[in-house]
Amino acid sequence: MLITARGVGKSYFRGGQELRVLDDLDLDVEAGEWVALMGPSGSGKTTLLNLIGGIDVPDAGTIQVAGDEIVGRSPAELAAWRSRHVGFIFQLYNLLSVLTAEQNVELPLLLTPLSRRQRREHVQTALEVVGLADRSDHRPSQLSGGQQQRVAIARAIVTDPSFLLADEPTGDLDAKSAEEILHLMDRLRADFGKAIVMVTHDPNAAARADRLVHLEKGAIATSEAVRE
Protein backbone atom coordinates (compact mmCIF):
# COMPACT_ATOMS: atom_id res chain seq x y z
CA MET A 1 0.00 0.00 0.00
CA LEU A 2 1.40 3.42 -0.94
CA ILE A 3 -0.93 5.67 1.02
CA THR A 4 -2.75 4.60 4.16
CA ALA A 5 -4.94 7.21 5.85
CA ARG A 6 -6.72 6.18 9.05
CA GLY A 7 -9.25 8.10 11.12
CA VAL A 8 -8.38 11.41 9.48
CA GLY A 9 -10.28 14.40 10.84
CA LYS A 10 -10.04 18.06 9.95
CA SER A 11 -12.07 21.02 11.12
CA TYR A 12 -12.05 24.69 10.32
CA PHE A 13 -13.33 27.31 12.66
CA ARG A 14 -15.35 30.08 11.22
CA GLY A 15 -16.77 32.77 13.47
CA GLY A 16 -16.28 30.59 16.54
CA GLN A 17 -18.19 27.78 14.90
CA GLU A 18 -16.57 24.47 14.14
CA LEU A 19 -16.93 23.22 10.58
CA ARG A 20 -16.07 19.53 10.38
CA VAL A 21 -14.70 19.07 6.89
CA LEU A 22 -13.31 15.55 7.26
CA ASP A 23 -14.52 13.12 9.86
CA ASP A 24 -12.82 9.83 10.75
CA LEU A 25 -11.90 9.15 7.15
CA ASP A 26 -9.98 6.08 5.94
CA LEU A 27 -8.38 5.86 2.53
CA ASP A 28 -5.94 3.46 0.87
CA VAL A 29 -4.13 4.04 -2.37
CA GLU A 30 -2.01 1.30 -3.89
CA ALA A 31 1.27 1.94 -5.65
CA GLY A 32 0.59 2.69 -9.29
CA GLU A 33 -3.12 3.14 -8.70
CA TRP A 34 -5.16 5.98 -10.17
CA VAL A 35 -7.88 7.10 -7.80
CA ALA A 36 -10.55 9.59 -8.77
CA LEU A 37 -12.14 11.61 -5.96
CA MET A 38 -15.63 12.92 -6.62
CA GLY A 39 -18.23 14.58 -4.49
CA PRO A 40 -20.27 17.72 -4.11
CA SER A 41 -18.62 21.06 -3.68
CA GLY A 42 -17.49 21.55 -0.11
CA SER A 43 -17.36 17.84 0.65
CA GLY A 44 -13.67 18.08 1.54
CA LYS A 45 -11.93 16.76 -1.57
CA THR A 46 -9.30 19.49 -1.75
CA THR A 47 -8.81 19.30 1.99
CA LEU A 48 -8.11 15.58 1.77
CA LEU A 49 -5.67 16.10 -1.06
CA ASN A 50 -3.84 18.79 0.94
CA LEU A 51 -3.50 16.45 3.89
CA ILE A 52 -2.14 13.58 1.81
CA GLY A 53 0.25 15.98 0.11
CA GLY A 54 1.52 17.30 3.45
CA ILE A 55 0.67 20.96 2.79
CA ASP A 56 -1.92 20.89 5.54
CA VAL A 57 -2.10 18.92 8.78
CA PRO A 58 -5.04 16.89 10.12
CA ASP A 59 -6.51 17.36 13.59
CA ALA A 60 -6.80 13.62 14.06
CA GLY A 61 -5.69 10.38 12.45
CA THR A 62 -2.60 9.06 10.78
CA ILE A 63 -1.38 9.20 7.20
CA GLN A 64 1.36 6.84 6.10
CA VAL A 65 3.04 7.19 2.75
CA ALA A 66 5.34 4.39 1.61
CA GLY A 67 5.59 3.28 5.23
CA ASP A 68 6.47 6.75 6.60
CA GLU A 69 4.13 8.56 8.96
CA ILE A 70 3.73 12.16 7.84
CA VAL A 71 1.42 13.41 10.59
CA GLY A 72 3.27 15.10 13.42
CA ARG A 73 6.26 16.19 11.39
CA SER A 74 7.59 19.72 11.62
CA PRO A 75 6.82 22.09 8.73
CA ALA A 76 10.45 21.95 7.62
CA GLU A 77 10.47 18.15 7.63
CA LEU A 78 7.21 18.12 5.70
CA ALA A 79 8.64 20.52 3.13
CA ALA A 80 11.64 18.29 2.57
CA TRP A 81 9.38 15.26 2.39
CA ARG A 82 7.11 16.94 -0.20
CA SER A 83 10.04 17.79 -2.42
CA ARG A 84 10.98 14.10 -2.60
CA HIS A 85 7.61 12.34 -2.73
CA VAL A 86 4.80 14.53 -4.05
CA GLY A 87 4.02 16.00 -7.43
CA PHE A 88 1.28 18.65 -7.34
CA ILE A 89 -0.97 19.44 -10.29
CA PHE A 90 -3.38 22.34 -9.82
CA GLN A 91 -6.58 23.31 -11.58
CA LEU A 92 -5.14 26.68 -12.58
CA TYR A 93 -1.66 25.27 -13.33
CA ASN A 94 0.10 27.68 -10.92
CA LEU A 95 3.15 28.18 -13.10
CA LEU A 96 5.35 31.12 -12.14
CA SER A 97 4.65 33.73 -14.78
CA VAL A 98 8.11 35.32 -14.75
CA LEU A 99 9.83 32.04 -15.56
CA THR A 100 9.96 30.16 -18.85
CA ALA A 101 8.52 26.65 -19.18
CA GLU A 102 12.00 25.22 -18.75
CA GLN A 103 12.72 27.32 -15.66
CA ASN A 104 9.37 26.39 -14.13
CA VAL A 105 10.08 22.70 -14.61
CA GLU A 106 13.60 23.12 -13.23
CA LEU A 107 12.34 24.73 -10.02
CA PRO A 108 11.81 21.56 -7.91
CA LEU A 109 15.20 20.23 -9.06
CA LEU A 110 16.90 23.13 -7.27
CA LEU A 111 16.12 21.24 -4.08
CA THR A 112 18.08 18.21 -5.25
CA PRO A 113 21.86 17.79 -5.33
CA LEU A 114 21.80 17.48 -9.14
CA SER A 115 24.33 19.45 -11.16
CA ARG A 116 23.27 22.13 -13.59
CA ARG A 117 23.78 19.81 -16.52
CA GLN A 118 21.90 16.96 -14.91
CA ARG A 119 19.03 19.33 -14.14
CA ARG A 120 18.97 20.42 -17.75
CA GLU A 121 18.73 16.81 -18.89
CA HIS A 122 15.93 16.00 -16.45
CA VAL A 123 13.99 19.09 -17.53
CA GLN A 124 14.43 18.15 -21.18
CA THR A 125 13.17 14.62 -20.51
CA ALA A 126 10.14 15.83 -18.57
CA LEU A 127 9.22 18.32 -21.28
CA GLU A 128 9.57 15.58 -23.89
CA VAL A 129 7.23 13.33 -21.91
CA VAL A 130 4.56 16.03 -21.97
CA GLY A 131 5.34 16.83 -25.62
CA LEU A 132 6.50 20.41 -25.12
CA ALA A 133 10.24 20.15 -25.67
CA ASP A 134 9.93 22.75 -28.44
CA ARG A 135 8.31 25.30 -26.12
CA SER A 136 10.91 25.22 -23.38
CA ASP A 137 11.72 28.93 -23.56
CA HIS A 138 8.12 30.11 -23.67
CA ARG A 139 6.61 31.89 -20.73
CA PRO A 140 3.23 30.74 -19.37
CA SER A 141 1.48 33.72 -20.98
CA GLN A 142 2.68 32.48 -24.36
CA LEU A 143 1.12 29.04 -23.86
CA SER A 144 -2.47 27.78 -24.07
CA GLY A 145 -4.23 26.45 -20.97
CA GLY A 146 -3.65 22.86 -22.03
CA GLN A 147 0.02 23.55 -22.70
CA GLN A 148 0.40 25.28 -19.35
CA GLN A 149 -1.10 22.27 -17.61
CA ARG A 150 1.32 20.01 -19.45
CA VAL A 151 4.24 22.17 -18.28
CA ALA A 152 2.80 21.92 -14.76
CA ILE A 153 2.71 18.14 -15.12
CA ALA A 154 6.31 18.16 -16.28
CA ARG A 155 7.16 20.18 -13.16
CA ALA A 156 5.27 17.61 -11.04
CA ILE A 157 7.09 14.59 -12.46
CA VAL A 158 10.59 16.00 -12.98
CA THR A 159 11.77 14.91 -9.52
CA ASP A 160 10.31 11.43 -10.06
CA PRO A 161 7.94 11.60 -7.05
CA SER A 162 6.13 8.58 -5.54
CA PHE A 163 2.72 9.93 -6.42
CA LEU A 164 0.84 12.77 -8.07
CA LEU A 165 -1.94 14.84 -6.55
CA ALA A 166 -4.18 16.55 -9.08
CA ASP A 167 -6.98 18.91 -8.02
CA GLU A 168 -9.41 19.22 -10.94
CA PRO A 169 -6.56 19.14 -13.47
CA THR A 170 -8.98 19.43 -16.40
CA GLY A 171 -11.45 21.71 -14.65
CA ASP A 172 -10.41 24.77 -16.62
CA LEU A 173 -9.76 23.15 -19.98
CA ASP A 174 -11.79 22.54 -23.12
CA ALA A 175 -12.69 18.94 -24.01
CA LYS A 176 -9.78 18.41 -26.38
CA SER A 177 -7.12 19.75 -24.01
CA ALA A 178 -8.72 17.85 -21.15
CA GLU A 179 -8.47 14.66 -23.16
CA GLU A 180 -4.77 15.33 -23.81
CA ILE A 181 -4.14 15.79 -20.11
CA LEU A 182 -6.04 12.62 -19.20
CA HIS A 183 -4.15 10.69 -21.84
CA LEU A 184 -0.90 12.01 -20.40
CA MET A 185 -1.88 10.99 -16.89
CA ASP A 186 -2.80 7.57 -18.16
CA ARG A 187 0.71 7.24 -19.57
CA LEU A 188 2.30 8.44 -16.35
CA ARG A 189 0.55 5.69 -14.51
CA ALA A 190 1.04 2.97 -17.17
CA ASP A 191 4.60 3.76 -18.29
CA PHE A 192 6.08 5.30 -15.16
CA GLY A 193 4.01 3.56 -12.49
CA LYS A 194 2.96 6.76 -10.76
CA ALA A 195 0.08 6.57 -8.33
CA ILE A 196 -2.39 9.40 -8.91
CA VAL A 197 -5.05 10.87 -6.68
CA MET A 198 -7.22 13.14 -8.80
CA VAL A 199 -10.13 15.29 -7.73
CA THR A 200 -12.63 15.83 -10.52
CA HIS A 201 -16.20 16.89 -11.19
CA ASP A 202 -16.12 15.36 -14.67
CA PRO A 203 -17.49 11.78 -14.94
CA ASN A 204 -15.52 11.27 -18.14
CA ALA A 205 -12.31 12.06 -16.34
CA ALA A 206 -13.27 9.87 -13.42
CA ALA A 207 -13.94 7.00 -15.81
CA ARG A 208 -10.24 6.99 -16.74
CA ALA A 209 -9.20 6.10 -13.21
CA ASP A 210 -8.85 2.66 -11.66
CA ARG A 211 -11.04 3.44 -8.74
CA LEU A 212 -13.72 5.98 -8.02
CA VAL A 213 -14.10 7.31 -4.48
CA HIS A 214 -17.17 9.34 -3.57
CA LEU A 215 -16.85 11.83 -0.77
CA GLU A 216 -19.97 12.98 1.03
CA LYS A 217 -19.91 15.43 3.95
CA GLY A 218 -16.35 14.66 4.88
CA ALA A 219 -16.58 10.89 4.73
CA ILE A 220 -16.18 8.29 2.02
CA ALA A 221 -19.62 7.31 0.77
CA THR A 222 -18.62 4.77 -1.87
CA SER A 223 -15.41 3.38 -3.25
CA GLU A 224 -15.62 1.21 -6.31
CA ALA A 225 -13.43 -0.09 -9.11
CA VAL A 226 -14.09 1.52 -12.46
CA ARG A 227 -15.13 -1.00 -15.11
CA GLU A 228 -14.20 -0.03 -18.63
Binding site: I55, D56, P75, A76, A80, N94
Partner: protein, 388 residues
Protein backbone atom coordinates in the same frame (compact mmCIF):
# COMPACT_ATOMS: atom_id res chain seq x y z
CA UNK B 1 18.86 25.98 -3.08
CA UNK B 2 17.30 29.42 -3.33
CA UNK B 3 15.84 30.03 -6.79
CA UNK B 4 17.80 33.25 -7.39
CA UNK B 5 16.66 33.22 -10.97
CA UNK B 6 13.30 34.37 -9.64
CA UNK B 7 14.87 37.44 -8.06
CA UNK B 8 16.53 38.34 -11.32
CA UNK B 9 13.38 37.78 -13.37
CA UNK B 10 11.25 39.79 -10.96
CA UNK B 11 13.68 42.69 -11.06
CA UNK B 12 13.77 42.51 -14.84
CA UNK B 13 10.05 42.07 -15.20
CA UNK B 14 9.26 45.00 -12.95
CA UNK B 15 12.18 47.17 -14.06
CA UNK B 16 10.13 50.35 -14.08
CA UNK B 17 8.95 49.85 -10.52
CA UNK B 18 12.49 48.92 -9.51
CA UNK B 19 13.77 52.07 -11.19
CA UNK B 20 11.22 54.30 -9.48
CA UNK B 21 11.87 52.81 -6.05
CA UNK B 22 15.64 52.96 -6.49
CA UNK B 23 15.37 56.54 -7.73
CA UNK B 24 13.28 57.48 -4.70
CA UNK B 25 15.84 55.96 -2.37
CA UNK B 26 18.70 57.56 -4.33
CA UNK B 27 17.12 60.98 -4.00
CA UNK B 28 16.50 60.54 -0.29
CA UNK B 29 20.02 59.29 0.31
CA UNK B 30 21.45 62.17 -1.72
CA UNK B 31 19.45 64.67 0.31
CA UNK B 32 20.34 63.04 3.58
CA UNK B 33 24.03 62.98 2.67
CA UNK B 34 23.89 66.63 1.62
CA UNK B 35 22.15 67.81 4.77
CA UNK B 36 24.48 65.72 6.88
CA UNK B 37 27.42 67.30 5.08
CA UNK B 38 26.12 70.77 5.93
CA UNK B 39 26.20 69.72 9.56
CA UNK B 40 29.65 68.12 9.40
CA UNK B 41 31.04 71.10 7.48
CA UNK B 42 29.86 73.39 10.24
CA UNK B 43 31.41 71.13 12.85
CA UNK B 44 34.58 70.94 10.80
CA UNK B 45 35.08 74.71 11.12
CA UNK B 46 34.94 74.38 14.87
CA UNK B 47 37.22 71.36 15.00
CA UNK B 48 39.83 72.88 12.72
CA UNK B 49 40.27 75.91 14.95
CA UNK B 50 43.74 76.53 16.37
CA UNK B 51 44.10 75.68 20.02
CA UNK B 52 46.51 78.54 20.73
CA UNK B 53 44.49 81.45 19.49
CA UNK B 54 41.98 83.77 21.11
CA UNK B 55 39.63 86.09 19.25
CA UNK B 56 38.69 89.37 20.87
CA UNK B 57 35.63 91.17 19.58
CA UNK B 58 33.17 93.71 20.92
CA UNK B 59 31.04 92.32 23.71
CA UNK B 60 28.06 94.07 22.16
CA UNK B 61 28.01 92.39 18.79
CA UNK B 62 30.22 91.25 15.98
CA UNK B 63 29.01 94.25 14.02
CA UNK B 64 30.35 96.73 16.54
CA UNK B 65 33.96 97.81 16.03
CA UNK B 66 36.74 98.01 18.59
CA UNK B 67 39.28 100.86 18.64
CA UNK B 68 42.60 100.08 16.95
CA UNK B 69 44.54 101.35 19.93
CA UNK B 70 43.72 98.12 21.79
CA UNK B 71 46.28 96.30 19.68
CA UNK B 72 49.28 97.42 21.72
CA UNK B 73 47.54 96.72 25.04
CA UNK B 74 46.72 93.24 23.88
CA UNK B 75 50.22 92.58 22.67
CA UNK B 76 51.53 93.63 26.06
CA UNK B 77 49.32 91.07 27.79
CA UNK B 78 51.51 88.33 29.33
CA UNK B 79 51.30 85.06 27.43
CA UNK B 80 50.44 86.75 24.13
CA UNK B 81 53.01 86.09 21.42
CA UNK B 82 51.55 88.14 18.60
CA UNK B 83 48.38 90.04 17.75
CA UNK B 84 46.81 90.52 14.36
CA UNK B 85 43.42 91.88 13.43
CA UNK B 86 40.66 91.49 10.87
CA UNK B 87 38.10 94.10 9.94
CA UNK B 88 34.97 93.27 8.03
CA UNK B 89 34.84 95.51 4.97
CA UNK B 90 31.54 94.43 3.42
CA UNK B 91 31.42 96.23 0.06
CA UNK B 92 30.20 95.23 -3.36
CA UNK B 93 32.15 93.73 -6.24
CA UNK B 94 30.34 94.77 -9.44
CA UNK B 95 27.11 93.26 -8.20
CA UNK B 96 25.58 92.49 -4.80
CA UNK B 97 25.32 88.83 -5.81
CA UNK B 98 29.10 88.44 -5.83
CA UNK B 99 29.33 87.84 -2.10
CA UNK B 100 32.61 86.85 -0.55
CA UNK B 101 34.38 87.75 2.66
CA UNK B 102 36.70 90.80 2.51
CA UNK B 103 38.87 91.62 5.48
CA UNK B 104 41.25 94.46 6.14
CA UNK B 105 44.24 93.22 8.08
CA UNK B 106 47.81 93.91 9.06
CA UNK B 107 50.12 92.03 6.74
CA UNK B 108 53.25 91.24 8.82
CA UNK B 109 51.24 90.08 11.84
CA UNK B 110 48.80 88.14 9.67
CA UNK B 111 51.80 86.37 8.20
CA UNK B 112 53.18 85.68 11.67
CA UNK B 113 49.93 84.29 13.02
CA UNK B 114 48.43 82.53 10.01
CA UNK B 115 51.13 82.45 7.33
CA UNK B 116 54.52 80.89 6.71
CA UNK B 117 56.09 82.76 9.64
CA UNK B 118 53.84 80.97 12.07
CA UNK B 119 55.59 78.33 14.19
CA UNK B 120 52.36 76.35 14.00
CA UNK B 121 50.20 75.03 11.19
CA UNK B 122 50.03 77.37 8.20
CA UNK B 123 46.41 78.41 7.68
CA UNK B 124 47.07 80.78 4.79
CA UNK B 125 49.44 78.97 2.45
CA UNK B 126 51.22 81.24 -0.02
CA UNK B 127 54.74 81.52 -1.51
CA UNK B 128 57.07 83.94 0.39
CA UNK B 129 57.51 86.21 -2.65
CA UNK B 130 53.75 86.77 -2.75
CA UNK B 131 53.75 87.62 0.95
CA UNK B 132 56.54 90.12 0.17
CA UNK B 133 54.56 91.57 -2.72
CA UNK B 134 51.46 91.85 -0.53
CA UNK B 135 53.40 93.61 2.18
CA UNK B 136 55.21 95.84 -0.27
CA UNK B 137 52.25 97.67 -1.79
CA UNK B 138 49.51 99.47 0.15
CA UNK B 139 46.89 98.74 -2.51
CA UNK B 140 47.80 95.08 -2.74
CA UNK B 141 45.44 92.31 -1.75
CA UNK B 142 45.51 88.53 -1.61
CA UNK B 143 42.65 86.23 -2.52
CA UNK B 144 41.85 82.58 -2.02
CA UNK B 145 42.18 80.17 -4.92
CA UNK B 146 38.41 79.62 -4.73
CA UNK B 147 37.85 83.23 -5.77
CA UNK B 148 40.34 82.92 -8.62
CA UNK B 149 38.35 79.96 -9.88
CA UNK B 150 35.04 81.70 -9.33
CA UNK B 151 35.83 85.00 -11.05
CA UNK B 152 38.65 83.96 -13.36
CA UNK B 153 41.03 86.56 -11.91
CA UNK B 154 44.76 86.51 -12.48
CA UNK B 155 47.73 87.50 -10.40
CA UNK B 156 48.40 91.23 -10.89
CA UNK B 157 44.85 92.00 -11.94
CA UNK B 158 43.16 95.05 -10.44
CA UNK B 159 39.73 94.65 -8.91
CA UNK B 160 37.34 97.43 -7.98
CA UNK B 161 35.15 97.36 -4.88
CA UNK B 162 32.47 99.78 -3.80
CA UNK B 163 32.45 100.34 -0.07
CA UNK B 164 29.29 100.47 2.00
CA UNK B 165 30.33 100.21 5.64
CA UNK B 166 33.34 102.23 4.55
CA UNK B 167 31.95 104.32 1.69
CA UNK B 168 34.03 105.05 -1.39
CA UNK B 169 35.59 103.36 -4.39
CA UNK B 170 38.44 101.03 -3.69
CA UNK B 171 40.78 99.30 -6.10
CA UNK B 172 43.13 96.49 -5.22
CA UNK B 173 45.91 94.69 -7.08
CA UNK B 174 46.05 90.97 -6.60
CA UNK B 175 49.52 90.33 -5.21
CA UNK B 176 49.02 86.80 -3.98
CA UNK B 177 46.83 83.76 -4.20
CA UNK B 178 46.60 81.64 -1.08
CA UNK B 179 45.27 78.15 -0.51
CA UNK B 180 43.60 77.19 2.77
CA UNK B 181 45.89 75.16 5.01
CA UNK B 182 43.01 73.55 6.87
CA UNK B 183 39.24 73.35 7.09
CA UNK B 184 39.44 76.43 9.28
CA UNK B 185 40.30 78.76 6.44
CA UNK B 186 37.92 79.62 3.61
CA UNK B 187 39.16 79.55 0.01
CA UNK B 188 36.98 82.48 -0.96
CA UNK B 189 38.26 85.28 1.22
CA UNK B 190 40.09 88.45 0.27
CA UNK B 191 42.60 90.22 2.55
CA UNK B 192 43.96 93.74 2.07
CA UNK B 193 45.79 96.43 4.05
CA UNK B 194 43.89 97.79 7.02
CA UNK B 195 46.07 100.86 6.90
CA UNK B 196 44.88 101.67 3.37
CA UNK B 197 41.27 101.32 4.47
CA UNK B 198 41.76 103.38 7.61
CA UNK B 199 43.45 106.15 5.67
CA UNK B 200 40.77 106.30 2.97
CA UNK B 201 38.04 106.31 5.61
CA UNK B 202 39.65 109.26 7.41
CA UNK B 203 41.44 107.36 10.16
CA UNK B 204 38.46 106.19 12.27
CA UNK B 205 40.66 103.39 13.69
CA UNK B 206 37.98 100.69 13.62
CA UNK B 207 38.71 97.02 14.00
CA UNK B 208 36.31 94.04 14.03
CA UNK B 209 38.35 91.36 15.75
CA UNK B 210 41.80 90.88 17.17
CA UNK B 211 43.47 87.51 16.98
CA UNK B 212 45.72 86.77 19.95
CA UNK B 213 48.34 84.18 19.15
CA UNK B 214 49.45 82.77 22.51
CA UNK B 215 52.69 81.30 23.66
CA UNK B 216 52.83 77.53 23.95
CA UNK B 217 51.29 76.28 27.16
CA UNK B 218 49.57 79.58 27.88
CA UNK B 219 46.36 79.45 29.89
CA UNK B 220 43.69 80.40 27.34
CA UNK B 221 40.89 80.90 29.83
CA UNK B 222 42.99 83.05 32.18
CA UNK B 223 44.22 85.31 29.39
CA UNK B 224 40.73 85.66 27.90
CA UNK B 225 39.37 86.59 31.33
CA UNK B 226 42.21 89.05 31.93
CA UNK B 227 41.58 90.80 28.62
CA UNK B 228 37.82 91.08 29.12
CA UNK B 229 38.22 92.23 32.75
CA UNK B 230 40.53 94.96 31.66
CA UNK B 231 37.88 96.57 29.41
CA UNK B 232 34.88 95.61 31.51
CA UNK B 233 34.18 99.15 32.64
CA UNK B 234 35.30 100.91 29.45
CA UNK B 235 32.93 101.98 26.70
CA UNK B 236 34.29 99.25 24.46
CA UNK B 237 33.76 96.10 26.43
CA UNK B 238 35.31 93.04 24.81
CA UNK B 239 34.44 89.42 24.52
CA UNK B 240 37.39 87.08 24.14
CA UNK B 241 36.82 83.53 23.00
CA UNK B 242 39.00 80.67 21.86
CA UNK B 243 39.04 80.40 18.11
CA UNK B 244 36.98 77.20 18.42
CA UNK B 245 34.38 78.94 20.57
CA UNK B 246 34.37 81.89 18.21
CA UNK B 247 33.71 79.62 15.27
CA UNK B 248 31.13 77.84 17.36
CA UNK B 249 29.45 81.20 17.84
CA UNK B 250 29.31 81.60 14.08
CA UNK B 251 27.86 78.12 13.86
CA UNK B 252 25.32 78.91 16.53
CA UNK B 253 24.22 81.88 14.46
CA UNK B 254 22.72 79.08 12.40
CA UNK B 255 20.72 78.35 15.55
CA UNK B 256 18.93 75.06 15.41
CA UNK B 257 19.57 74.75 11.72
CA UNK B 258 21.83 71.68 12.08
CA UNK B 259 19.20 69.94 14.17
CA UNK B 260 16.50 70.99 11.74
CA UNK B 261 18.56 69.73 8.81
CA UNK B 262 19.12 66.40 10.55
CA UNK B 263 15.41 66.14 11.15
CA UNK B 264 14.56 66.95 7.56
CA UNK B 265 17.14 64.41 6.42
CA UNK B 266 15.60 61.82 8.70
CA UNK B 267 12.08 62.62 7.54
CA UNK B 268 13.05 62.39 3.88
CA UNK B 269 14.70 59.08 4.54
CA UNK B 270 11.69 57.83 6.42
CA UNK B 271 9.48 58.78 3.49
CA UNK B 272 11.74 56.81 1.17
CA UNK B 273 11.58 53.91 3.58
CA UNK B 274 7.77 53.99 3.54
CA UNK B 275 7.78 54.05 -0.25
CA UNK B 276 10.20 51.13 -0.44
CA UNK B 277 8.28 49.17 2.17
CA UNK B 278 4.96 49.86 0.52
CA UNK B 279 6.30 48.78 -2.86
CA UNK B 280 7.77 45.62 -1.42
CA UNK B 281 4.59 44.76 0.47
CA UNK B 282 2.47 45.23 -2.64
CA UNK B 283 4.94 43.15 -4.56
CA UNK B 284 4.77 40.51 -1.84
CA UNK B 285 0.99 40.40 -2.06
CA UNK B 286 1.15 39.93 -5.81
CA UNK B 287 3.53 37.05 -5.24
CA UNK B 288 1.34 35.21 -2.75
CA UNK B 289 0.62 32.42 -5.19
CA UNK B 290 4.29 32.14 -6.07
CA UNK B 291 5.06 31.77 -2.37
CA UNK B 292 2.40 29.05 -2.14
CA UNK B 293 3.87 27.17 -5.09
CA UNK B 294 7.42 27.42 -3.75
CA UNK B 295 6.25 26.16 -0.38
CA UNK B 296 4.27 23.29 -1.92
CA UNK B 297 7.31 22.28 -3.95
CA UNK B 298 9.21 22.06 -0.68
CA UNK B 299 11.37 25.20 -0.66
CA UNK B 300 12.39 26.03 2.91
CA UNK B 301 11.19 29.24 4.55
CA UNK B 302 14.74 30.60 4.54
CA UNK B 303 14.93 30.45 0.74
CA UNK B 304 11.60 32.18 0.32
CA UNK B 305 12.52 34.87 2.84
CA UNK B 306 15.93 35.33 1.21
CA UNK B 307 14.28 36.20 -2.11
CA UNK B 308 12.34 39.08 -0.58
CA UNK B 309 15.13 40.38 1.62
CA UNK B 310 17.60 40.23 -1.26
CA UNK B 311 15.21 42.09 -3.52
CA UNK B 312 14.77 44.87 -0.95
CA UNK B 313 18.50 45.14 -0.41
CA UNK B 314 19.31 45.10 -4.13
CA UNK B 315 16.74 47.76 -5.05
CA UNK B 316 17.53 50.08 -2.13
CA UNK B 317 21.23 49.31 -2.37
CA UNK B 318 21.30 50.44 -5.99
CA UNK B 319 19.42 53.57 -4.97
CA UNK B 320 21.83 54.21 -2.11
CA UNK B 321 24.83 53.69 -4.34
CA UNK B 322 23.60 56.21 -6.87
CA UNK B 323 22.62 58.68 -4.15
CA UNK B 324 26.03 58.55 -2.50
CA UNK B 325 27.89 58.53 -5.80
CA UNK B 326 25.86 61.55 -6.92
CA UNK B 327 26.69 63.48 -3.76
CA UNK B 328 30.35 62.46 -3.98
CA UNK B 329 30.71 63.59 -7.58
CA UNK B 330 28.79 66.78 -6.98
CA UNK B 331 30.65 67.96 -3.85
CA UNK B 332 34.01 66.22 -3.92
CA UNK B 333 34.77 65.98 -7.64
CA UNK B 334 33.02 68.85 -9.37
CA UNK B 335 32.71 70.91 -6.20
CA UNK B 336 29.51 72.89 -6.26
CA UNK B 337 30.75 76.44 -5.70
CA UNK B 338 27.39 77.72 -4.50
CA UNK B 339 28.02 75.91 -1.23
CA UNK B 340 31.69 76.84 -1.04
CA UNK B 341 30.58 80.38 -0.39
CA UNK B 342 29.10 79.37 2.94
CA UNK B 343 31.57 76.74 4.04
CA UNK B 344 35.36 76.78 4.04
CA UNK B 345 35.31 73.27 2.70
CA UNK B 346 32.10 71.61 1.61
CA UNK B 347 33.03 67.99 1.07
CA UNK B 348 31.13 64.86 1.93
CA UNK B 349 33.06 62.86 4.52
CA UNK B 350 33.77 59.14 4.00
CA UNK B 351 31.85 58.37 7.19
CA UNK B 352 28.85 60.27 5.85
CA UNK B 353 29.02 58.26 2.63
CA UNK B 354 29.22 55.05 4.61
CA UNK B 355 26.35 56.14 6.83
CA UNK B 356 24.16 57.06 3.86
CA UNK B 357 24.90 53.84 1.97
CA UNK B 358 24.44 51.80 5.13
CA UNK B 359 21.11 53.45 5.80
CA UNK B 360 19.95 52.63 2.28
CA UNK B 361 20.88 48.99 2.79
CA UNK B 362 19.12 48.98 6.16
CA UNK B 363 16.01 50.45 4.54
CA UNK B 364 16.21 47.67 1.95
CA UNK B 365 16.69 45.03 4.60
CA UNK B 366 13.66 46.09 6.59
CA UNK B 367 11.46 46.62 3.57
CA UNK B 368 12.42 43.10 2.49
CA UNK B 369 12.09 41.48 5.90
CA UNK B 370 8.49 42.59 6.36
CA UNK B 371 7.08 40.88 3.23
CA UNK B 372 9.44 37.95 3.84
CA UNK B 373 7.96 37.55 7.28
CA UNK B 374 4.43 37.74 5.86
CA UNK B 375 5.34 35.11 3.25
CA UNK B 376 6.87 32.75 5.78
CA UNK B 377 3.90 33.13 8.13
CA UNK B 378 1.25 32.44 5.47
CA UNK B 379 0.17 28.77 5.55
CA UNK B 380 0.79 26.93 2.27
CA UNK B 381 -2.88 26.23 1.72
CA UNK B 382 -3.84 29.88 2.23
CA UNK B 383 -1.12 31.09 -0.11
CA UNK B 384 -2.32 28.68 -2.79
CA UNK B 385 -5.99 29.40 -2.38
CA UNK B 386 -7.62 32.00 -4.55
CA UNK B 387 -10.44 32.36 -2.09
CA UNK B 388 -9.65 35.97 -1.09
Amino acid sequence: MTPWRLLFEHLRGAWFRVLLTAAGVALAVFLMATLRTVVTSLQQTVKAAGSNRLITSSAVSLFVFLPAKLENDLRAQPGVREVTHWTWFGGVYIDKENMFARFATDVPTLRTVYGDWSPRREEIVMPPEQWEAFDGSRKACIVGDGLIERFGWELGETIELKGNIFPGDYSFDIAGIYTPGSGQMDSQTMFFHWDYLDEKAGRPGKISTFTLDLEDGADLAAIAAAVDDRYASSDHRTRTLTEAAFNQMFVSMWGNVPLLLSMIGGAVLFAAFMIALNTMLLHGQERRLEVGVLKALGFPDASIAALFVAEGVVVCGIGGLFGVAGAHVMFNVIGVSALDRFFPSFAILPETELLAAGTAVAVGLISGIVPAWVAVRTPVVDALSRRD
